[in-house]
Structure formats: C-alpha cells, structure tokens
C-alpha cells in the first residue's frame, strides 16, 4: 500500500510502500519519552521505496532498551518525528515511519504491540475514559 505524509509545518514530506500487516505499537520507554505520549505507532517502509523531501535532523540514540543504536529523524522547524532507521550514510534497508504523520493513518491498524512490559497501565482501558467529541 502506498503511503505519504508530512510534518506539521510541511518542511518534510515522505512517501513509500508499506505492508499494512506490519503496523505496530511500541510501548518502550524511549518511544514514550520521544513521542511525549504513551506509545508510538510505526510502520516499516523498505528503503528502495522510500522518498523524502526536506532535511530532517538526525539524533542517534545509543541506549535503546533493545541495545541497538538507532538514527531518529525529526523536523528541525516543527519537531515532528518522521522515522527511525539504522545509523550510517546513504539509503538504509528500512525506515520505521511514525504512522501518526501519514495521510493514510486511519487505514493503518496496528497488528501487534511490543515492549508491552512498559505499557502505561491505563492504555488498555481507554474505552472507559470520558470522551468529548471536540474539546472541554
């Protein structure tokens, strides 16, 4: 499936091909801190289909819970997270795109959640939290 997305300010756009079966939620503490939320929601894009305009800032995270260094890309103007990939020059094998920035995000349903041991306790109970259609 073809996907496309942009950061909040529009400086960075991405496109590529994904398999919707590979969408996942990650509850690791790095994803909680770097999203400022409870988890991330990711989809891998093969490097040979991935295209980008604009120039993200790369932060190399070396203390991931998994132990692997990762290159995290975000927009230097609006801070929107774009992807993570393996560190190094040139095209990488795969880019883990942050699904929240994609135009097709409503069609990307997570199939698995990982690092559930650090999931926020309330995250499986959102149906019972009072809901407002707009804001209150």
């Amino acid at each position: 499936m073809k996907i496309s997305g942009a950061c909040q300010c529009g400086s960075i756009t991405v496109e590529g091909e994904v398999d919707p079966e590979n969408v996942r939620v990650c509850h690791c503490t790095d994803c909680q801190i770097n999203s400022g939320s409870a988890f991330r929601f990711n989809v891998p894009v093969p490097g040979n289909t991935f295209k980008m305009t604009g120039e993200p800032t790369i932060y190399i995270k070396t203390t991931a819970e998994s132990g692997r260094p990762r290159a995290q890309a975000f927009c230097p103007k609006c801070g929107t997270p774009i992807y993570t990939t393996s560190p190094g020059e040139g095209q990488q094998a795969s880019y883990m795109i942050r699904a929240g920035i994609l135009a097709q995000r409503d069609q990307l349903i997570p199939k698995r959640q990982i690092w559930f041991r650090s999931a926020q306790a309330w995250v499986t109970g959102l149906d019972a939290v009072p809901k407002v259609e707009k804001q209150a």
């Binding site: 995290q72 698995r112 306790a121």
Partner: protein
C-alpha cells in the same frame, strides 16, 4: 503534585506542579501528527511553578489547530522530544501543557478525559485484545 522530566537526550530538563486530575488525552489531528502517534497525553503545569532547569527548546507556532487557537509548541532541538505547548508571546505564561510521556512520574498520571474523540483512531480503545510481546519482536 510535583513533576519533573527530561527530553530523550537530556539537554532539556524542567519541573513544576500539576494536578493529576487534569491529565487528558488529545486525539486531534495536530496531536497525531506532532507525536507521530495516535494521541498526546497532556498535563497542565501552572506558569508560576514551571521551571526550565536546563536547555533551550525550539518553539514552533502552530496556527492551524482544529480549535483555531495558535499555540507555541516547544521541542528539543537536539533529539526532537516534544516538551510542552503554551500560548503565543514573550515572557512567562499562565500555564504550560506538558507532554506526559517524558515525565518521570508518568506511571502515576492516568488520563481523566479524552478530547477531540471524533478524530480518535478506531483501534485505540481495543488495545486490550491486540497481540502483545513483553519485549521487542
């Protein structure tokens, strides 16, 4: 309740006071894009108690929020971690809406309300039945 937090790379550190009954989830489209995730979790911290202990965030002024209110969004220029949003302008503000995921006390901050539920991702209320791995996969 006293809260403190730091961005992922440690450049930005801050502290303040927030009321745990005010924690909310925001499902608006801006929060989905700004986190790259499904929603934000927010806690208002009073301006009088909010202190930046280290670092200087980059400010992005978002003018097209669904609510129509322009907001100043702060993030770490080195690692991109979102820090807070507040009203636009110079000087101290009455309130800072802090991103709960980067607080050390996040495990104690349970959302009491969900805003902009009309744009919530349909699967967010079904995580209890989604297959899970305790670690990575």
């Amino acid at each position: 309740m006293r809260i403190d937090g730091a961005c992922q790379c440690g450049y930005i550190k801050f502290e303040g006071e927030g009321d745990p009954d005010k924690v909310w989830v925001c499902h608006c489209a801006d929060c989905q894009a700004g986190t790259g995730s499904a929603f934000r979790i927010n806690l208002p911290v009073t301006g009088a108690s909010f202190r930046m202990l280290s670092g200087e965030p980059t400010i992005f002024i978002k003018t097209t929020a669904e609510s129509g209110t322009p907001r100043a969004q702060a993030f770490c220029p080195k690692c991109g971690s979102p820090i807070y949003s507040t009203t636009v302008g110079d000087g101290p503000k009455p309130s800072y809406t802090v991103r709960v995921g980067l607080l050390r006390q996040r495990d104690q901050l349970t959302p009491k309300r969900q805003n902009w539920f009309r744009s919530a991702q349909p699967w967010v209320t079904g995580l209890a039945s989604l297959p899970r791995n305790e670690k990575g996969a």
